[in-house]
Subunit: 638 residues, 2 copies
């Protein structure tokens, strides 16, 4: 068993953000979102639930409340890892104290199954979410230990992991089951890396290898004994949780999309650490199916609200899109891991796409409200029918997975920017700020100055402590048709020199060496594959990594009737949305006259078109100025 | 109180069909569908359920099983009214014997509430369906009495109606409630007309007047006492059953679409018979909202599968369309009644539209399979997800309202063709066959020779017993832009002479007078209102009353990517579908090349278009040649 990853991410603790797109958002996450979420955990009883004082008649804690606290702790830990905050740290310590006390003498730790369903441990692996909650607590424990060096939660979670390891496994007398909602797999690998305890890696491997072996474990669980959550039997439940066949035989992404994203991430983790080539091959196949046939143009994934599932190839409805925030986040996890193994820009492309669109659409510009679903088309009346969530971002959700998930992602965003190998620094994302990187035995400080993603120019200053030979490897995004790179003012060839989406600059670097990258980012008219029936005859606007959308407030009602010619010039107009200057795209387009329609619903084609200015804004910013229609795909004009 | 209807429909018993579009379908209905349905009633226990032998542990009869038998009896009665059939009549008599025996001593009659929920009568007016079942049995009773002169079921239902009248009403001690699923209202008016018992009309009037009076009756029903069906409280249940405000104040069509259609039909009936002008005015407003803002191009109604409801103005999704067969049938009922009062072709236009599209799409060409939902766009994979019904017509349904409903409509289709007033014969629909009509004190035989709707030429021979002066009033459909009429070879002016969609020919008619009508029916490209977001940038093809659709088997997969130019010539090609010669429409169109897409889901627009022949067939015939994609709205080409 050998680690087969090619790259190692640079820790978020060595990366700082300054004055840019992300700095603003990460600061808001720290100053606004984290306190709001703590408050929500508190007022909804999620923190007090750790006291295990629930008694019959009280409102029931939900089976995944544990994970809500856990993700918030993890987010707070990352935040504390870069920005000291005594008040926040005290809050974290207090919650951890409660968690420690909630742990049972044998190591078991779970609110619901220690109170409401006492004595029913592991009776509902399919939907009970015990291993899922354990996983999130493990991630929190590792994050807090790494951020602040405090071991309490880490030790609690090692005890729990040891107990889980004593319960699950291939050995006689152990349960040969695995969690219905994957998460513990990737968490166990984190715990293994933090503690060097190989049992945790082996347990993760067991869960991965056992999953989907037929007859399926869940078929042995007795329906009537299941405590916690259950879902109807009218659909393929084993498929919903990716347990319909062994993972190495799975070639299409199916079932619950967040489960899928966490599972695939855990698969890469295990494959990476154990050198498991067949598992890695399965990851590649799943990646292809996911990104080539089942992903929204925003990087959102999961087409169906019902059971939050993938459906079938090219089925990507816009108005009915599910595209949960957590699912887009899980895609970032998956992409980031694949990137470390494969050194291929296609993974960074998807990671960037999801980050700038389907992920950050999940939080309002002021950091106070959240989307659970990230539809690509919205109508304010429609959202009142048919089980859709409301059109506007919400303060909180009964099933509150998304808000703390986006908080932990933003707080740890630094880790997605750079990776290193022995003699290479990979720059995956362009963000204003600094990083301290160890490469070729030297410490190198990198500084990025850029207004990305609003502009495509990036100035990188390379500051090795002492002159050193290594490669600076810059990503040339697939969306960019024309890129140029200068080193200390001297142009280098990009095209012949770039490989798998990266251009490699090997030289002996000296303090102050300046690399200037320019990524041209004109507005592009995108089309989708002819089998995506929802987008035939329609255009999506994209500029750089940003997908644009049109909103009612800029274009009047009935935006579905706007038509965008295949050719016509665009202009960029800088306008403020809240405190942020945003480039609006405007273009000449058309819409039908509404006069002449009184009393009619259908008629032989006769309505004249009238010229209008179509205004579009970055998709992720929609619904920050009130409620109204929104859509990404615009009808192509005749 | 005075009857305010202007026209009286000519009974189906005086109308015969010959050699045409409908003759074929009505014959299949009689010879194939009716026996199949009897068999289904029998084998599913619906007929035996009348024996009231249910005991605990047996499979439960459904609360509306009574209505399934009733609609079949009604259909059989109409069939017997035009075609004697000893075997069928014996089956009907046997079922009626069972029904008679099932009647309780006080007149009450209901399977579910006499067996499963014994003693729970009228505890769940909202969803218990007792009055709904009573209504369908009354319709059956009247139909069988009128067809065969047999009084047994009529008397049973009069006893039941008398009992219902003793239970419900404004008087002290009576229940001031009404049925959650309207139906009994229109049925009571039929019973009144058959028996001349004015109490039945008064009771119908009471149900209409009481409905929606606030506080709503249902708010007094105790949730925990409700037996039979219940629906979640998470939506506006009073609105779902059109009881959210008094009917005269309702201006938009809301709630369950079949309930709505039956209710509005009952409202017209009561308004017609009582001369209630304010009620009639409400009907007009509801009609306008329904047909100008909430109706599919097929005459289907009800946009949302969830609770089978109307949603909001211009919300007409195609793939997710609900458009129940029963709802389109109820629209025919509503339109037909409005037409008698208003003498306005706009009602006949909608009646014809629904008949030729959203109604008969509900039964397969061989008469053996049925659609419950009539979506306007289908994808064979999509129908496996998200609670959609299967893509193909089914043999039967657990909730089996549609099959016998379409059977009774087809068996009684004759009544929709002609109406008379004192000195007028109105011809609403063009069908090959004969009719015997009483007008101006004379008996007139009318003969129509036509290949309508495949062709627009109609030859009407007028044969009065003796020469008589009266008006022959011919409908000029709104879809027809150019019509001509000749009387005995002499052209008469249509345009200046036509009023509200009809042209009136007054003369002294003699035996053998020949009226030749020609309705030009080129293929039209239809657009829908700019607020119908689902159809913006798309074209529907229509020829005469027939809406066309495209199917995968004629056009290859990914039919969403087909593009139809705004201008280009069509051809008609006659091809057989099963035993029927059908004019296929073909047109030059385009689709994108699929090469160049390997491994890609989105790209900057670049795919070339390639010319193809688009082939379309009448919508109602879709899915008669196997499963595949289907859609009505075709993307307009650049």
């Amino acid at each position: 068993m050998a680690n087969i990853s090619s790259l190692t991410p640079v820790s978020y603790r060595n990366v700082s953000f300054k004055d840019g797109f992300w700095a603003k958002r990460i600061e808001k996450n720290r100053k606004v979102t984290l306190p709001i979420e703590y408050n929500a955990l508190k007022t909804t009883g999620r923190i007090d639930a750790w006291k295990l004082k629930w008694k019959k008649g009280d409102p029931e804690p939900h089976i995944f409340w544990d994970s809500d606290s856990a993700k918030w702790i993890e987010a707070a830990a990352y935040s504390l890892g870069t920005h000291a905050n005594a008040k926040l740290e005290k809050q974290v310590d207090e919650v951890i104290d409660l968690i420690e006390k909630a742990q049972q003498s044998d190591g078991y730790l779970n609110i619901y199954f220690t109170t409401v369903a006492k004595g029913e441990r592991w009776t509902n692996l399919m939907y009970g979410h015990e291993l899922y909650c354990a996983g999130h607590l493990m991630e929190a424990a590792v994050a807090y230990f790494e951020a602040r060096g405090k071991r309490k939660l880490l030790e609690v979670m090692c005890r729990y992991a040891n107990y889980i390891d004593s319960v699950f496994g291939p050995e006689k007398g152990k349960i040969r089951g695995y969690g219905g909602h994957p998460e513990v797999e990737l968490a166990l690998v984190k715990l293994y890396k933090a503690t060097d305890e190989s049992r945790y890696l082996k347990l993760a491997e067991f869960f991965i290898n056992e999953r989907g072996v037929q007859p399926c474990y869940y078929d042995q669980e007795k329906e009537e004994e299941r405590k916690g959550m259950t879902l109807p039997q009218t659909f393929d439940r084993n498929k919903n949780i990716q347990a319909h066949k062994p993972l190495r035989e799975q070639e299409t992404v199916v079932g619950h999309s967040v489960r899928a994203g966490y599972l695939y991430s855990g698969m890469v983790d295990v494959a990476m650490e154990t050198g498991d080539v067949s598992l890695m091959q399965a990851c590649r196949k799943l990646w292809s199916n996911l990104t080539e046939k089942r992903m929204y143009v925003t990087g959102g994934i999961g087409s169906s609200r019902q059971f939050e599932e993938f459906t079938f190839d090219y089925d990507l409805p816009n108005e009915e899109a599910y595209a949960e925030t957590c699912a887009a986040i899980s895609l970032v996890f998956f992409a980031h891991r694949m990137l470390q193994v494969e050194k291929d820009g296609k993974y960074a492309d998807v990671m960037e796409l999801a980050l700038y669109n389907g992920v950050i659409s999940g939080v309002s510009q002021d950091g106070k409200r959240f989307f659970y679903e990230n539809r690509l088309m919205a109508h304010p009346e429609r959202t009142k029918f048919g089980g859709q969530k409301p059109i506007e971002r919400q303060k909180w959700f009964g099933c509150a997975c998304c808000p703390p998930n986006i908080a932990r992602l933003l707080a740890s965003l630094g880790q997605y920017i750079y990776s290193v190998s022995k003699k290479e620094i990979y720059v995956h994302l362009y963000v204003a700020g600094k990083a301290k990187v160890e490469v070729a035995g030297e410490t190198v400080t990198l500084k990025q100055q850029t207004n990305y993603p609003w502009e495509g120019a990036v100035a990188l200053t390379v500051n090795p402590k002492v002159e050193a030979v290594f490669a600076l490897v810059l990503r040339i995004p697939a969306w960019c048709r024309k890129a140029s790179v200068k080193v200390n003012g001297k142009r280098i060839v990009v095209n012949g020199n770039s490989k798998k989406g990266y251009v490699k600059i090997v030289r002996s670097w000296r303090r102050g060496d300046l690399v200037e990258l320019n990524l041209e980012m004109p507005i592009e008219r995108m089309e989708s594959h002819p089998s995506v029936r929802h987008n035939c005859g329609a255009i999506a606007l994209k500029r750089g990594p940003l997908v644009y959308c049109i909103e009612e407030m800029d274009n009047g009602a009935d935006i579905a009737d706007l038509r965008l010619p295949r050719k016509s010039r665009f202009s960029l107009v800088s306008k403020k949305i809240s405190d942020e200057k945003v480039p609006f795209v405007t273009a000449t387009g058309y819409r039908r006259e509404r006069s002449g329609w009184k009393g009619k619903l259908y008629q032989p084609i006769q309505t004249p078109l009238r010229e209008v200015r179509i205004k579009a804004i970055p998709y992720f910013l929609w619904n920050n100025r009130g409620n109204g229609e929104m859509r990404i795909w615009i009808t192509e004009a005749r």
